[in-house]
């Protein structure tokens, strides 16, 4: 029997007013269904039957969804918003449901994209086929922005990450950051190219550029730690609201950040590169947890790098092992770059 049935009306109203919902909202405008196939001796013009391959099932994709799954596994309430469509959209929503993530998607006319990754261990090749996603019409975009405005009141932090589907204006992240800033909600942006550069102008709390696919930000080639530090300083100077800029390149063991105008480098003892999948998303998740707990920025950074590293050194995706992350924090030494 429900307890609330015994509570008088006015007292019940008072009780309900005491609840405050606080959560992290992640935005995934272009989610995907990620399919990973392990096929030995993958060849063109050849039929690969399911029998002779080990298929590693499908998983929901899109950075924001992965961040939300990571947070939920760490025991933090996360809501994911964005556009889904068609049957694939239903599958992605169901997968998010199984992870206990709160969903608030705008369903659009066309199908959500499917991203296929084929790994050939024998020949050491990786083939990726990524769709661009369904086009978004103005009505759906307006609907998303309306819902976003409503959900901001209950959010402590917003994570904006990933690419944009066709037809969405490049300044969408900038618009969303401005809306969050008006309500004093912190933001993390993890994107690339024009949406990121326009987003930076609006002043997010944390900037973590996605440097995959050989992206030269502001035309600067980034190879050494000094290059990254210079770029981080440049981004910081774009808007005083930016509190931290983070860069990572685990292949070269480069982990750089700019906190309040000072450059830092993280040195990690005995770095093992096992699996790049999920590294960036876990890093963003770690940063989000640190920010939500209002930790000092250095600790936020340490939390981010430790969460990322745990996922870098494991074959699993979105591994949220609290004890392991705490242990890994001890391995992250953060020093100032003079």
């Amino acid at each position: 029997m429900c307890l609330s049935a015994f509570v008088p009306d006015k007292l019940h109203l008072l009780l309900t007013l005491c609840y405050i919902i606080c959560m992290i909202t992640t935005i995934t405008l272009n989610p995907a269904l990620d399919k990973l196939y392990l096929i030995n001796n993958f060849q063109l013009h050849k039929l690969h039957r399911l029998g002779d391959l080990i298929r590693i099932g499908a998983s929901p994709g899109g950075k924001g969804i992965n961040v939300a799954i990571f947070l939920q596994r760490m025991g933090i309430e996360a809501t994911v918003m964005g556009f889904l469509g068609g049957h694939t959209g239903q599958v992605v929503e169901q997968m998010a449901r199984e992870e206990n993530v709160t969903t608030n998607f705008v369903f659009v006319e066309n199908e959500t994209r499917i991203d296929i990754t084929i790994i050939d261990e024998k020949n050491d090749t990786l083939t990726e086929i990524n769709e661009s996603g369904p086009p978004i019409f103005k009505e759906d975009l307006d609907s998303l922005l309306k819902r976003y405005a409503r959900i901001l009141d209950d959010s402590e932090l917003v994570v904006l990450s990933g690419s944009l589907p066709p037809n969405v204006p490049q300044d969408i992240y900038a618009t969303m950051i401005n809306m969050a800033n008006q309500k004093n909600v912190k933001t993390i942006i993890n994107a690339a190219k024009a949406p990121l550069e326009l987003g930076i102008e609006a002043g997010p709390t944390v900037v973590y550029p996605d440097m995959r696919s050989a992206y030269n930000m502001y035309g600067i080639k980034t190879e050494t730690i000094e290059d990254y530090a210079k770029l981080a300083q440049m981004i910081k100077e774009k808007n005083p609201k930016i509190e931290m800029v983070v860069f990572s390149n685990p292949i070269r063991n480069i982990f750089v950040a700019n906190i309040q105008g000072k450059n830092y480098q993280a040195k990690i003892a005995e770095l093992k590169n096992v699996n790049m999948f999920g590294f960036g998303d876990a890093l963003v998740g770690g940063l989000a947890i640190g920010l939500q707990k209002n930790r000092p920025m250095i600790e936020v950074l340490r939390s981010g790098f430790a969460s990322g590293l745990v996922n870098l050194e494991s074959i699993k995706k979105q591994l949220a092992d609290k004890a392991l992350i705490e242990d890994t924090k001890a391995r992250v030494k953060i020093v100032e770059i003079p």
């Binding site: 029997m1 429900c2 307890l3 609330s4 309900t16 007013l17 005491c18 609840y19 405050i20 919902i21 809501t79 469509g85 239903q90 929503e93 449901r97 199984e98 206990n100 993530v101 709160t102 969903t103 608030n104 998607f105 369903f107 659009v108 006319e109 009505e139 309306k146 409503r150 959900i151 009141d153 209950d154």
Partner: protein, 150 residues
């Protein structure tokens, strides 16, 4: 077993001043027959479903003592076109809600009494998810849970 064990944390909703034709579009795309309605401040107001849209579309003479008779499709189409520009808030149902801490059987009881398939789960005045009757039944049969142990 509690509501939190069987609820679906989907907070998709329509705003009270959305038009009925927009609501129909969302229902089709999401493959649902009911959606929660919220205010501008994101506070839960009520539920609206296919049945409410139908009730609003049939002409007055087809309703006798809370029973609704289906007219011919031409009449229904005419009625539907008339109401399709109207706001959701004029047709929604105010149905009791549950909280995550309520027992699942309490939620099921509520749904059966009101003849509903789904009911909203609130935290304070905010929507945190929905609970479906079919999920409750499935959980009884298979130890099937969405969120874990109970």
């Amino acid at each position: 077993m509690f509501v939190k064990d069987i609820m679906f944390k989907n907070i998709t909703s329509v705003e009270e001043d959305a038009e009925l034709k927009y609501l129909i579009k969302i229902l089709v795309r999401q493959r649902r027959d009911t959606l929660p309605v919220v205010s501008k401040d994101n506070e839960y107001i009520g539920l609206i479903g296919v049945q409410d849209i139908l009730n609003a579309s049939v002409p007055g003479f087809c309703k006798v003592c809370s029973m609704v008779f289906m007219p011919n499709s031409k009449m229904l189409m005419k009625g539907l076109k008339k109401v399709s520009d109207k706001k959701v808030k004029s047709f929604l149902k105010k149905i009791p809600t549950v909280t995550e801490k309520d027992t699942a059987i309490h939620a099921a009881n509520l749904m059966i009494r009101k003849g509903l398939q789904t009911v909203a789960v609130l935290k304070g005045k905010k929507l945190v998810g929905m609970v479906n009757l079919v999920d409750f039944l499935a959980s009884l049969l298979n130890d099937y849970t969405i969120t874990g142990n109970y």
